[in-house]
């Protein structure tokens, strides 16, 4: 990561349940810098929520340390950590007004009353819920989007060093969610706070964050920019989790040229591919995205011969399902203007640095 000042530094964090039989989180490292927003992305049960809860202090790690602004907070209870958390359910206190909800954290910090008032007012302005209009409302008088804004204001008002978001938009509908994601990002950048966003929705994760951490089965599979993890995935799980992908097995390595290698696939196709760190070995995979392969009507010379199985036109894109030596792959891009019909022959080319060697 870059040389921004590190706000959160998690080292070797593990959480075991049932006396070590279940490892919910298995020896992970995460760092978040000032002003950075990092998404932890993974399917449900991957350990992302447990990780977030341990960072907040709501759950205790079996081993590992959590460092916040240079202080070890691993053994501190949540109320001594200065970490903000926006809950999935928003967790707005139903017996308090909006104003009392937002003031709660400041009251706990024993901030002077007049200061509480001005800070609450400013926080509510920030989320566009003016105090004069919304201050006296209770949670049952607010919409889902408004509840989220109150939760956000309540979290930001105490100026935490780090804000955690636990899929706070899962409760909202798609349109509102997109809108809130943009707003959330704007507010976070405006205040320059560090944030961790926990989600299983790859679209939200990639649009919102500076960095994405992919988790599965309690481990971090990849940690990188959204572009990185999309274009240079580490393994099959990451590829498939982030969208449509074509995957072929590697049988043999024919030639090596730097980090590029000419590999022979299980179905006897030779193609150039690029590895992320490791070189290809038989048993590894080569993966490419449907939009990264090109379909040609005539053989450009080094193309892979393909037969069109079916064509669909969706969202302004052609979607060809083609057969290459017995393997079905999906391709979106073409050099021809026309629709290549089902059963026709075609040729496929893939850039060497766009077909990736990944771990199985």
């Amino acid at each position: 990561m870059d040389m921004q000042r590190i706000i959160l530094d998690v080292r070797g964090l593990s959480r075991e349940f049932a006396n070590g039989k279940v490892k919910a989180v298995d020896n992970i490292d995460i760092a978040v810098g000032r002003g950075e927003i990092v998404s932890i992305l993974g399917p449900s049960g991957c350990g992302k929520t447990t990780t977030m809860r341990m960072i907040a202090g709501l759950d205790q790690p079996t081993s590992g340390t959590i460092n916040l602004c240079g202080n070890d907070v691993t053994d501190l209870p949540p109320y001594r950590r200065n970490i903000g958390l926006v809950f999935q359910s928003f967790a707005i206190f139903p017996h308090m007004t909006v104003q009392q909800n937002v003031a709660f954290g400041l009251k706990m910090q024993r901030v002077a009353l007049d200061e509480i008032e001005s800070r609450v007012s400013a926080a509510l302005d920030l989320v566009q819920l003016p105090l004069s209009k919304f201050g006296d409302r209770r949670s049952d008088e607010l919409s889902g989007g408004q509840l989220q804004r109150v939760a956000l204001a309540r979290t930001l008002v105490t100026e935490p060093a780090l804000v955690l978001f636990d899929e706070p938009m899962a409760a909202l509908d798609r349109r509102l969610r997109d809108h809130m994601a943009v707003e959330l990002r704007a507010i976070q950048k405006q205040l320059g706070i560090a944030a961790i966003y926990v989600t299983h929705d790859q679209e939200t994760a990639t649009t919102m964050s500076d960095r994405v951490v992919i988790m599965n089965s309690g481990r971090i599979l990849q940690d990188g920019t959204p572009e990185d993890i999309y274009l240079k995935p580490a393994d099959r799980f990451v590829c498939e989790f982030l969208g449509e992908v074509n995957i072929l097995g590697i049988r043999d390595i024919i030639q090596t040229d730097g980090d590029r290698q000419l590999v022979r696939t299980d179905n006897n196709i030779d193609l150039w591919a690029t590895g992320r760190r490791t070189h290809a070995k038989p048993g590894m995979l080569v993966a490419f995205r449907p939009e990264q392969a090109l379909l040609h009507a005539n053989d450009p010379g080094h193309g892979i011969e393909a037969k069109i199985e079916s064509v669909q036109f969706r969202n302004g894109l052609h979607r060809w399902k083609v057969d290459i030596s017995g393997a079905s792959v999906i391709v979106h891009s073409t050099t021809v203007d026309r629709r290549i019909a089902q059963g026709e022959r075609a040729w496929l080319t893939i850039d060497a640095d766009k077909s990736r060697i990944v771990a199985p």
Binding site: Q60, T74, D75, P77
Partner: protein, 282 residues
């Protein structure tokens, strides 16, 4: 080992405080019952605690009350039988009155429903002393004597809401579609009630009936005002004994009552557990 804290009070000092306080309170709440059980096994002549020794002595005494030559004099058998008779009859009466009423309240809308609901809930809050006294006055003013039925009626009045509460919970779990299906298949309303409602609500009705049985079996206040020389329920017998000769024999009889009560509670608990599965709506 890491420092232990819990933000929802499931661990650490807070959890220990809650557990210990809870344990102490529950112990105190059970103390009187346990005390009766312990003292009933004394081999001494008094209610002294701790007992000088333990024996079945007072249970043998109670056995003598039941079967010995003085049995007629002590009247324990008679009281026990009359109590069982009253409790059983009360359960039957409340079922006969409560089940149709529950069905009406669960399935129908009609004018004055809210008022009727309020009235049917009234016996729960109505002070037993007042009910007992006014029934006594009423029976004597009208110069009627229903014998054992006086107490059965009185117990049925206070037992009814308890039966209906259980019964209605059960009936609410029955999908209206089941009844409608039966009707479209040609079942008359009476057959629908008999073949669909009764079998499906039987768990609730049974647990309600058991509850009413215990309630009536233990009931003291109403019986206190309505008993006669011929109708002398067990609680009244106990009270009389306690006032005349407060011997450990009274505690032995009390222990037997506790045993009957606990048995009934266990059956009730079992019924509720069984009922939970098919009844759950969501």
């Amino acid at each position: 080992m890491r420092a232990s804290f819990s933000v929802t009070g499931h661990a650490g000092l807070e959890w220990w405080i809650i557990r210990i306080t809870c344990f102490i309170i529950l112990t105190v709440m059970l103390a009187p019952i346990l005390m009766v059980l312990v003292i009933s096994f004394t081999d001494g002549d008094t209610l002294q605690f701790p007992p000088p020794g333990f024996s079945m002595r007072w249970y043998l005494e109670v056995w003598a009350f039941l079967t010995g030559p003085d049995a007629d004099l002590v009247r324990l058998v008679e009281s026990l039988l009359i109590s069982v008779k009253i409790a059983g009859a009360t359960a039957v009466v409340t079922v006969l009155a409560g089940v149709p009423a529950s069905y009406a309240l669960v399935r129908y809308r009609f004018f004055g429903k809210t008022l009727i609901e309020e009235l049917l809930g009234l016996p729960v809050v109505f002070p037993a002393v007042v009910l007992g006294i006014s029934l006594l006055v009423l029976f004597s003013a009208t110069k009627t004597d229903f014998g054992v039925w006086q107490i059965i009626l009185a117990h049925s009045i206070i037992g009814l809401p308890f039966l209906m509460r259980n019964c209605m919970t059960s009936m609410k779990g029955i999908d209206v579609a089941l009844e409608e299906a039966a009707k479209t298949l040609g079942a008359s309303p009476v057959r629908v009630f008999h073949k669909i409602i009764l079998p499906l609500a039987s768990g609730g009705i049974a647990s309600g009936a058991i509850l009413v049985f215990i309630l009536s079996f233990n009931e003291f206040t109403l019986s206190y005002f309505l008993y006669t020389v011929d109708v002398f329920p067990l609680p009244i017998w106990l009270f009389q004994q306690a006032n005349t000769s407060f011997s450990p024999a009274v505690f032995a009889v009390s222990s037997l009552i506790v045993a009957i009560n606990v048995l009934a509670v266990l059956v009730l608990d079992w019924l509720v557990a069984v009922r939970k599965q098919p009844d759950r709506q969501d």
